[in-house]
């Protein structure tokens, strides 16, 4: 029996993935999923383009959007073949990258210290709590006033949203660490810094990555708002100008692109988390075969 159980736990990796994929295809899941997505697209097509129901007739239709999206010579100027399309994506991504990087670099250490030092927490946290209920987007005009140009205000807004999420979750992460771990470290002769480095930081890691996951989500949320209100270039800007210029299919192209890039970035954050927390992946993998 020991051999059997050993096998079960050590046959991870490739074999496990293949096995999971094959069972997934044998279940009704992929077909139901296709049905669900297909259903939504059909409704869109029928309501807008075939039946032209009231209110729906003004909306961009499915075929209209698809042809525009993949047309080498788009009517409204934006498709997968136009360089502008990638320029907009690139600019949005760059803003996200700046803001997310800055928020992580500042937010994680701040959160760690807020959770680690009681004194620091007592001084700083109330200030944090006073500022937090103000919605990020209410900062828009103030950001425009404070920072010159059109680039910095957008990045500032995006940063602010990420920063709150990251800091707060990191702090919660430190606070959630069982006291036994820090006690054990002290028993084993670790000094303050060693405890911080070997217990506090890895112990808070799961929460930090939950925070980063939320952080990347709210970053996109604020970025779109910022770009719509004050930006030049970027996907939010695409959507907003498409509206004012009455080039409706481009709105949908912008939305789809936002969805896809948003999804990819958050997947990247999750993969980074899995990479840095092998111990968790391996613990969970046991319960997952």
């Amino acid at each position: 029996m020991n051999n059997a159980s050993l096998q079960a736990s050590e046959m991870t990796g490739m074999a496990l993935t293949m096995y999971r994929i094959s069972t997934w295809f044998k279940s009704p899941k992929p077909y139901l999923m296709l049905f669900g997505v297909g259903f939504l697209l059909t409704i869109w097509y029928l309501f807008v383009e075939v039946w032209q129901l009231p209110r729906f007739e003004d909306m961009p239709g499915l075929t209209e959007v698809v042809t525009e999206y993949f047309s080498p010579d788009p009517i409204y100027g934006l498709s997968v073949y136009t360089p502008e399309y990638y320029q907009h994506i690139g600019i949005s991504l760059r803003r996200i990258a700046y803001a997310f990087f800055l928020a992580t670099v500042l937010g994680v250490p701040l959160g760690l210290f807020l959770g680690w030092s009681k004194k620091f927490h007592e001084f700083i946290f109330p200030l944090f709590e006073v500022l937090r209920p103000i919605p990020i987007l209410a900062w828009v005009p103030l950001a425009i006033i404070m920072f010159s140009g059109s680039e910095t205000p957008v990045i500032f807004l995006t940063f602010l949203a990420s920063f709150f999420a990251t800091t707060l979750n990191t702090m919660l992460g430190v606070q959630s660490i069982d006291e036994s771990y820090t006690r054990a470290a002290r028993c084993l002769g670790a000094n303050g810094w060693q405890t911080f480095r070997h217990v506090i930081v890895p112990g808070a890691m799961p929460y930090i990555f939950t925070g980063l996951q939320i952080s990347i989500g709210v970053a996109w949320f604020s970025l779109v708002a910022g770009e719509m209100v004050s930006g030049q270039f970027g996907l939010g800007y695409v959507i907003n100008t498409a509206y004012t210029m009455v080039t409706y299919p481009t709105i949908v192209i912008g939305m789809i692109t936002l969805g896809v890039t948003g999804f990819i970035t958050s997947t990247m954050v999750r993969m980074a988390g899995d990479f840095m927390m092998q111990w968790r992946v391996r613990e969970l993998a046991l319960g997952d075969n």
């Binding site: 001084f123 919605p135 828009v140 005009p141 404070m146």
Partner: protein, 273 residues
């Protein structure tokens, strides 16, 4: 909270330290903002924004202004409208996904495909679709809260201890009874959490939507707090921007707090520890 407890809290070291930190923050802000008029040097960033005293002065002037309070009312109405719509549709949707596997496998992937699109990206499409600007704001607000509520309800209902269900089953309870008296109360805490988070998002979305769509068509003072901020910016009265920000902060804080209290009332068993 009784008087002695309140007194203890106010006299505690933590409270004292918090007050110190916030006071220092306000003083830096005040000095930074006024530095140019006093010494002729403009402090970067802070020098460009109005000083707290100026903000409070401007606020004092607005207290008696009915159009300021109209903005409060407009925003509150939109938030509540969108929020309740999200509750009414989101809770059953989430619960149904949790109890019916086929429905879950059909609807959830589609839901997950739509979810990464930020709610604000829907603003133009929503304006095109809905006949009035008011409805389009309501729709975007609804979307913001809807995703969060559904995810929380689904997560809560899926993580119910299997033994609760098995215990009910082995005592001969019907499917409907299990749903009503086990699944529903067991999910309630997650619904409360989801609603509180959803409420926060609702405020974010309302503010943005009001800014983007230009105050719900009626224009001027009828446009809600988001529009109030934007209008102050366009009109150059920077003090009022900060007043607007603080007002929204207060409004958001109180709506979340109210929800949390309501949640505590609905889940009395959670506070008995």
């Amino acid at each position: 909270m009784n008087i002695t407890k309140l007194k203890d809290k106010i006299l505690s070291r933590a409270f004292f330290r918090g007050v110190i930190a916030i006071s220092i923050f306000l003083i830096i802000w005040e000095v930074g903002a006024r530095f140019e008029s006093w010494y002729g040097y403009r402090v970067p960033w802070i020098g460009l924004i109005p000083a707290p005293t100026a903000v409070f002065e401007s606020w004092g002037g607005l207290i008696g202004d009915p159009s300021y309070w109209m903005s409060w009312q407009m925003s509150f109405m939109r938030v509540l409208g969108g929020f309740f719509a999200a509750m009414i549709l989101g809770i059953p949707f989430g619960l149904f996904m949790a109890v019916n596997r086929t429905f879950h496998d059909t609807a959830f992937p589609t839901f997950e495909i739509l979810r990464p699109i930020p709610p604000l990206a829907w603003v133009p499409a929503s304006i095109i679709f809905w006949p009035t600007a008011e409805l389009s704001i309501a729709f975007v607000t609804f979307l913001g809260a809807f995703y969060t509520i559904v995810i929380n309800v689904l997560g809560g209902a899926k993580s119910i201890n299997k033994q609760y269900l098995q215990a009910a089953q082995s005592m001969g309870a019907s499917q409907w009874d299990i749903f009503r008296r086990v699944v529903l109360p067991a999910t309630l805490p997650s619904i409360v959490v989801g609603s509180a988070v959803g409420m926060g998002i609702t405020w974010e979305v309302v503010v943005a939507a009001e800014m983007i769509s230009g105050g719900g068509g009626s224009g001027g003072a009828g446009g809600g707090l988001g529009f109030f901020i934007w209008n102050s910016y366009v009109g150059g009265s920077y003090e009022q921007i900060v007043v607007g920000m603080i007002s929204i902060g207060i409004a958001g804080y109180f709506s979340s707090e109210m929800l949390r209290n309501l949640g505590g009332f609905l889940t009395p068993w959670l506070k008995t520890r």
